[in-house]
């Protein structure tokens, strides 16, 4: 890998980005930090509250702490399940797509369609689609002899949200993987043919390593989005039944706007944000280190 020249004037090229992102990032973040450190007696009378809200949220024996850890585990298992299905499925479908010809364009447009539907519309579609009486999906599952009702059964509700996410976002993994696959020069495949390599060997030795870079983008993006999921469960299940699909962001909005418990909500959202960033950082570091080692 060639060393990049050191040039601190490059900062000038980054400044516009910094300005636009800071404008929207800094003040809202500071507002949340403010709330997390203060308590209110109502009517905009705030006083310093130190780290009390944070200790509350991180203590599983308090009411809010128990809720936080429950939602956190629900979120982690949801993200894990979604990624476990979406990434392999996405790569597999990308491999099945034609490499050239008339069918490429229509296939890509069809695949991208679910991603282009506004999130509340996605929720609305599935709200009806999953119903056992008037929806195709619910009726079909029940027709197979599996009792299914996503508004009553917690497990069914959780699985429904996973299925929605798989339906909605596997296309992102497909598009990124497909773009990555198209960037592999034909020479690689010709060499493999001369060596009479099996399909599996081609996949493991040529395609997968070349896909690593796009997969980092795909996995990180999907992790962030699944970890912050809000609209779909909000519209389809409303966080229920019980609290089966009350993910962190849904719980936060309930606490902040429903109970107007701003201190707890702010502390919780900062901890939540920190967890997301830490997990992404670990993953990002591992992937980029692997990359560097291979280049060296």
């Amino acid at each position: 890998m060639i060393e990049k020249p050191i040039n601190n004037r490059a900062w000038l090229l980054v400044l516009p980005v910094l300005a636009f992102v800071l404008f929207s990032a800094l003040l809202p973040m500071m507002t949340v930090v403010n709330y997390s450190l203060q308590d209110s007696m109502g009517a905009n009378n705030f006083f310093w509250n130190g780290d009390a809200w944070f200790r509350d949220v991180l203590n599983p024996s308090t009411d809010i702490g128990a809720r936080f850890f429950d939602a956190l585990i629900r979120n982690l298992s949801f993200s894990f399940a979604a990624l476990l299905i979406e990434v392999p499925l996405g790569i597999a479908i990308a491999l099945c797509l034609p490499r050239s010809g008339w069918a490429v364009g229509p296939c890509l447009v069809l695949i991208a369609l679910p991603m282009l539907i506004p999130w509340n519309v996605v929720g609305t579609i599935w709200q009806i689609f999953a119903r056992a009486d008037i929806g195709l999906f619910g009726a079909a599952i029940n027709g197979l002899g599996i009792p299914y009702n996503d508004t009553q059964d917690p497990v069914a509700a959780w699985i429904t949200i996973v299925i929605i996410d798989v339906w909605h976002w596997t296309p992102l993994v497909i598009l990124l993987s497909y773009a990555g696959l198209r960037a592999i020069p034909d020479a690689f495949y010709q060499a493999a043919r001369i060596d009479a390599a099996s399909r599996w060997a081609v996949f493991v030795n040529i395609e997968l390593p070349k896909l690593q870079k796009v997969l980092v983008i795909a996995v990180l993006l999907r992790f962030m989005q699944t970890f912050m999921i809000y609209t779909e469960p909000f519209v389809v299940t409303g966080g229920g039944p019980g609290s089966a699909t009350t993910f962190l962001s849904i719980d936060l909005v309930k606490i902040a706007l429903g109970q107007v418990d701003l201190g707890n909500a702010a502390a919780m959202s900062l901890i939540y944000n920190l967890i997301t960033i830490t997990l992404c950082w670990i993953f990002y570091t591992i992937m980029t280190q692997l990359d560097r080692r291979r280049d060296a």
């Binding site: 060639i2 990049k4 020249p5 050191i6 040039n7 004037r9 490059a10 900062w11 090229l13 980054v14 516009p16 980005v17 910094l18 636009f20 992102v21 404008f23 929207s24 990032a25 003040l27 809202p28 507002t31 949340v32 479908i93 491999l95 099945c96 797509l97 364009g105 890509l108 447009v109 069809l110 991208a112 679910p114 282009l116 539907i117 506004p118 999130w119 509340n120 519309v121 579609i125 009806i128 008037i134 929806g135 195709l136 999906f137 773009a179 990555g180 696959l181 198209r182 960037a183 870079k213 796009v214 962030m224 912050m228 809000y230 849904i250 936060l252 939540y272 944000n273 992404c280 990359d291």
Partner: protein
């Protein structure tokens, strides 16, 4: 490479599963409300385009559609424009704090909109942009600018450094080189990035609805309004849903070849 029939069958099966919910939406949009809630019908028995005509003839809906398109386009243009030089800087130079800055940019993708919606409202109200398309366009920059930098950086990595050096020797100034020589080389990347910015801004609604009231009401907000007026108007909602897919489908049709050509990803 030799390809059997299997991939075609798998692909066809996947596409069928993918299209089913969308078919269901179209199906709903063509059936009257009483029909939707009373029984399951695999296809519309008495199809009606009534709600489509209703939406297309109602100034509120048409205006909202225009508002949504406007802030999405403003956002896409801003995101791609400011991200281009930054992505170039990240790919070509080392500078103090570059790696930290890059990761900090990514952390902005990790802030849940649901949490920051209220602070956003306060901020944009305070600067007097509340209820304008600019508020939404700027707010969406929070996640679209970092995303654009991330994607473009990969594409720029695919352009050999020798081209920069050759241009410098030929006496090109940096702005002239960047616009005349470099941008055409990463046209694919710009197309793909613009598509992603368009998409994420188009589908995001929590911020869009929080930051607007009447003048700049986005399409999605008008949709949520139709929930309450007369119970659930499923047909209207479904017809509006079908219409929201149209702009995105048009955009993806234009960039399909760019995506097919692939990312020439340099580093992560």
């Amino acid at each position: 490479m030799r390809r059997g029939v299997m991939p075609k069958i798998v692909l066809a099966a996947y596409l069928a599963m993918l299209m089913l919910p969308i078919y269901w939406l179209i199906n709903l949009s063509l059936r009257p409300n009483e029909d939707i809630v009373s029984r399951m019908a695999l296809w519309p028995h008495h199809p009606t385009l009534e709600k489509y005509f209703f939406i297309l003839n109602d100034p509120t809906w048409v205006h909202a559609f225009g508002v949504s398109l406007t802030y999405v386009l403003i956002n896409t243009v801003i995101s791609v424009t400011v991200a281009l030089p930054a992505a170039y800087a990240f790919n070509r130079f080392s500078f103090i704090g570059d790696k930290h800055l890059f990761f900090w940019l990514l952390t902005n993708l990790m802030a849940p909109a649901s949490v920051y919606a209220m602070p956003f409202f306060n901020l944009y109200y305070a600067v007097g942009l509340f209820d304008t398309v600019w508020a939404v366009a700027l707010a969406h920059c929070l996640f679209n600018v970092p995303l654009a930098v991330w994607i473009l950086e990969g594409f720029i990595g695919g352009v050999p450094r020798e081209i920069d050096e050759a241009a410098a020797i030929d006496g090109y100034s940096f702005p002239r080189f960047f616009i005349r020589i470099f941008l055409p080389l990463i046209a694919n990347g710009i197309g793909v990035t613009a598509f992603f910015c368009f998409m994420f801004s188009w589908v995001e609604q929590l911020l869009a609805t929080t930051l607007t009231a009447t003048n700049a009401l986005p399409f999605a907000a008008v949709m949520t309004r139709s929930y309450s007026v007369s119970g659930m108007d499923w047909t209207l909602l479904a017809a509006a849903g079908v219409l929201t897919m149209v702009p995105g489908a048009v955009v993806i049709w234009f960039v399909r070849n760019h995506i097919a050509k692939g990312f020439a990803l340099g580093r992560v």
